[in-house]
Point group: D2
Chain length 204, copies 4
């Protein structure tokens, strides 16, 4: 994508944001159903979960506000809509389905927020923005899967709400490498900084 | 992206949506500043504007509700935020700047909605959702630029609001071909149908 | 409030809206905890529940889309905020508390939407707007409690989203008569029509 | 409303919020059209404007973030909806109408945010929440008119977003005394603290 990169640079994209003074961590959809290629998994998602274990430990040590998201639809499908029309298999993600449980290595601790959502973005139709406002958060670090789906959608909304937005590079994964990389490119150009765990720790 | 496509198919993505009974057209950011590679333009944007001229004529003939978006910031930058931090050049897009004027070939007709926005999505911080609800719209056809930026963000929000979402293939453009194609792939898998002008006309 | 009424009339408030072609019913917070004056009940709430039984039967016969709301906070209070700071007793409204169960006479039928919310409005941080859009609803009939709290907040948001908004007069109740009447006055002037069950049936 | 007050107290309403560490001021709709009883004015609105002059001077001295709202509809009415259906006279509030200009004694200073809105709440369809997030605001002080309309709607949304919400008692006005007082009662019970200018200054 050399020529692509050229025009972005020439037009002044990819400005540096940096960490603010009050970060929070949101972990998007690291659910059992996204660890298995027979359901919604594949690619580098397992590696991203391993990276997130470390980031979560760091965030807890720093007492950052921490939120986890789950995709959950009503058992009778009464809250299904555009997303499930496009991806009908999502309808299996009901409250008690094993597929919608957060992976054990990232089990939420008491006091951490668990958001149920029906769409890609962790902000859409949820209490996330008010929860961040209540904590005077200025920086949202985003981990989760998939990079090209719910992470990307969450990052756009985070930027639109004017939070400094950091994509945790070691902590986002996708079922396929092409969309993973293409979306990292887009997010870096327009909405977020990309940082490794090491860079996040150094800058916090 | 053969292997990428394989896993999406296997997991049941890219379900067909189809046109509903009450479509609307939103034309995203076809502004003078996006026609010039020295500002935010380049790639296939001019071709997409030409395609949109035809689609707009069709939509008017069908009396679809039609909305146009502009990116507009306050002269003093008081409403700038996350997006302008990442892309500082956007701050030049003020109300009277030549860069923020809709291109002449797509000049809004009386009664068509003109949305001013500060972020990528045409829904974020605007009156779009209420305007669609007032017209009982069930299908949103999206044209505009860039495919990898404001079109993608608008399409995600449209899907989240449960509108049948159609990306008008002849009518979306980007400054660079790689992100254009990568985002068409993502949108087709998760949020929208892709249709040519001919397919839109046939199905309306 | 004679003189109050005079200035509203003179300034052109309280325009008539009327029922549209595609109504939905939302029943706000008719929960066990709101039937008991020892918790959040009192006033005319029981009478409003009785009125809502009739309206619900009518809406089901007409196959209107029907949504019910519950106020539900996390067991550990992780999603509490501004509302619970002002009314700390609300924190007891957790998923399995008897207080947050919908009253038996209004038990949701399969396929009816059940919204969990943390704030006054049924729209805030919920999937309501997308659920209405998916059904091309143009009219929202609002029942529930309290008139001066969650009903009022829901009605404002419904009007802002451009739904024709009808307050079901026989079906809204409050713990206290003064706020009940004052809020009916405000809603009639600015956001909604007030209709009895009989008027709703006649106009549907 | 003695008996009304009794049940609210018994049920634990009207908890004290207090000022946080990072307040902002929003001044709602103090427009020329709301100063004249022949349009939308009357009651104690002029007194509230006088009170707001003092509060605005204080907020500027403290360098609080300051936002002003205007109600503005498109000249061709393309963005009119539920609110204008109920109050048709609002349609006269267009960008260049003398009625929609902020009163001269409260003229925004450079860098203060000016929000154009089409509905009651200053949050609905505007960039307000992101602007507050960008400034890590935890407390929103609300002045403006009318108490029973746009102030009340803004206060509900502010509380829902978890901002500590303060109604500036000397700075809110209404065309009629009954709704003014009834809405102060509701807001105090459920969403906000009521403070005089003196109390705001003492607690800041």
């Amino acid at each position: 994508m050399t020529s692509d990169l050229d025009i972005y640079e020439k037009q002044g994209f990819a400005g540096n944001i940096g960490m603010g003074t009050k970060p929070a961590l949101v972990i998007v959809d690291f659910l059992v159903g996204f660890t298995d290629p027979a359901h919604f998994g594949g690619g580098n998602i397992l590696a991203a979960i391993a990276g997130t274990e470390k980031l979560l430990a760091f965030a807890r040590a720093k007492t950052w506000p921490i939120a986890h998201t789950r995709v959950v639809y009503a058992d009778d499908g009464s809250d299904c809509g555009g997303f499930t029309r496009k991806v009908p298999a999502l309808r299996r993600l009901t409250e008690t389905s094993p597929l919608t449980q957060i992976v054990p290595q990232l089990t939420p601790a008491p006091g951490e927020l668990i958001l149920r959502k029906r769409n890609a973005s962790a902000f859409f139709g949820t209490e996330l923005v008010g929860w961040l406002a209540a904590r005077q958060v200025d920086t949202l670090v985003v981990a989760g899967c998939t990079t090209s789906g719910c992470v990307r959608a969450t990052v756009i909304d985070s930027c639109s709400h004017n939070f400094r937005t950091i994509v945790a590079l070691d902590c986002v994964g996708d079922r396929a490498q092409g969309p993973h990389e293409a979306n990292l490119f887009d997010m870096k150009q327009k909405y977020a900084d990309l940082m490794t765990n090491e860079e996040i720790e150094t800058n916090s």
